[in-house]
């Protein structure tokens, strides 16, 4: 029986794993970036400028979800003759971000240790 016909190709597997790997990191990145106030579009640009491009359709709903969870605060304000919704990290978001960064650093350190350890034959 041919078991390879339904197996995804290497680029498909990579894309899927990359997406999983990035998902959590993007939340941390968005929270970190929102230590200074942004509205949706400028946040996306700021993240993209630092190498973390994220789709609008993913980022904008994410901001609302994080706000519902109390990690962000938002307010409508006029800027350049347009009403925009500005987001900022809340006090609770600040605490959670600190914990998440500690966790991320711990994972990063562990991964480095694993990569440095010579593999057994």
């Amino acid at each position: 029986m041919d078991t390879t016909s339904n197996t995804p190709s290497e680029p498909q597997i990579f894309d899927s794993l990359r997406l999983e790997l990035r998902r959590g990191c993007l939340i941390v990145a968005a929270l970190a970036q929102l230590r200074s106030e942004h509205y949706g579009y400028t946040l996306r640009k700021a993240l993209a400028d630092q190498g973390l491009a994220i789709e609008e359709s993913t980022l904008y709903p994410l901001l609302r979800r994080l706000e519902t969870q109390g990690l962000l605060t938002s307010q409508w304000r006029e800027e350049d003759k347009r009403n925009k919704r500005f987001y900022k990290l809340s006090a609770q978001g600040e605490t959670i971000l600190t914990h998440l960064l500690a966790e991320w650093n711990s994972i990063n350190d562990s991964l480095h240790k694993i990569l440095k350890t010579p593999t057994e034959a």
Binding site: G40, Y41, E56, S57, Y60, R82, R85
Partner: protein, 338 residues
């Protein structure tokens, strides 16, 4: 900008009224900023095809709207294992209860139409019964799914969260066949009940047993079954009753060890029934003077021979099975003696 408004309108169709306007306002601002940026890069307003391309890259309206909505699966990943476990555990029991209920109904209630039609109807009706069972379990778990997302819901009572490693089944012996699954045991019991039902229906519906033999009986003239068959029928019911008990016991894997002994007793009862058949001298009797006596005697003789051959075969088989069952015990005793 007409295209942008149409795009936002299309997204709005899939959003809940409570948050629709707020989400659309925010989306509009973000998309307008993106359009402005692009226009600044090009140093001119965007053409309709360029705007269309930009919106296309933003995503289909229904997909964009779906991302603003809470997860909408009927049964989510937290509850799904419990849902599946409940279906798997309860399915054989539902089938068993259905078979028992139908069997009781077929035996107890006077049949409208013939018995075969009743059995066929019972088999067909199991499909809607199982669909109702599946739908009911799904609705219950959909309610649990809805409730468990609310604060304070305790998931400890869900079947998948309660288990004891010490109650896991023992390791399978590589030399022994894999034990039967619960579904197989239930199916065995269900089919046995149907078989008993069939046998019980024979006195009222003799065609069930005569079937193709009807032609041969007609060849004999006007022959009938000998009265001794009534005794054999009682023996058969005893055998079926004993098998019913063994199959009920087999539902519990605790009795797996006793199963070979019970099987041997069942076979011994089967041999007894065959011995009775072999001892019968008359199988068919003349029901009217028109019966061809020579043919009838010939038929009775060869039926007797057939049952005696069958008796020899099943007796040898019983002895072999008994030897296989007792051999390990005898070997241990002989080792202890030496």
């Amino acid at each position: 900008m007409n295209l942008l408004e149409r795009y936002l309108q299309a997204i709005g169709q899939y959003l809940p009224p409570a948050t629709r306007q707020d989400i659309l306002n925010e989306l509009r601002v973000n998309l307008e900023a993106q359009i402005d940026d692009r226009a600044e890069e090009l140093n001119r307003p965007l053409t309709d095809p360029e705007l269309s391309q930009l919106l296309q890259s933003h995503g289909r309206p229904e997909v964009v709207a779906a991302r603003y909505l809470p997860q909408r699966s009927l049964i989510g990943p937290t509850i799904f294992p419990s849902y599946l476990l409940t279906l798997r555990k309860a399915f054989p029991l539902v089938v068993l209860i259905y078979v028992i209920a139908q069997a009781i109904s077929l035996v107890a209630e006077p049949q409208q139409g013939d018995l075969l039609r009743g059995i066929f109807r019972s088999i067909v009706q199991i499909v809607p019964t199982l669909l109702i069972f599946w739908a009911s379990v799904t609705i219950v778990f959909a309610v649990i799914e809805f409730a468990h997302t609310r604060p304070g819901f305790d998931t400890r009572w869900l079947p998948s969260s309660k288990w004891d490693p010490t109650k896991l089944p023992a390791l399978h012996d590589a030399t022994n066949p894999k034990p039967k699954s619960f579904a197989t045991r239930v199916a065995d019991l269900g089919f046995h009940i149907l078989w008993i039902l069939y046998v019980l229906a024979i006195p009222a519906h003799p065609f069930l047993i005569i079937g193709p033999s009807d032609w041969y009986l007609r060849q004999l003239g006007n022959a009938a079954f000998a009265p001794a068959w009534a005794t054999f029928y009682v023996l058969l019911l005893v055998l079926l009753g004993f098998q019913l008990i063994t199959r009920i016991l087999a539902l519990n894997p605790v009795f797996d060890r006793q199963q070979p002994v019970l099987d041997l007793i069942t076979k011994a009862l089967g041999v007894t029934g065959t011995a009775f058949l072999a001892s019968m001298k008359t199988y068919f009797i003349a029901a009217s003077p028109s019966v061809n006596q020579a043919v009838l005697a010939n038929v009775n003789h060869w039926m007797g021979v057939s049952f005696r051959i069958l008796l020899v075969i099943v007796s040898i088989q019983l002895l072999i099975d008994a030897w296989k069952l007792l051999r390990p015990t005898l070997r241990v005793k002989s080792v202890l003696l030496f």
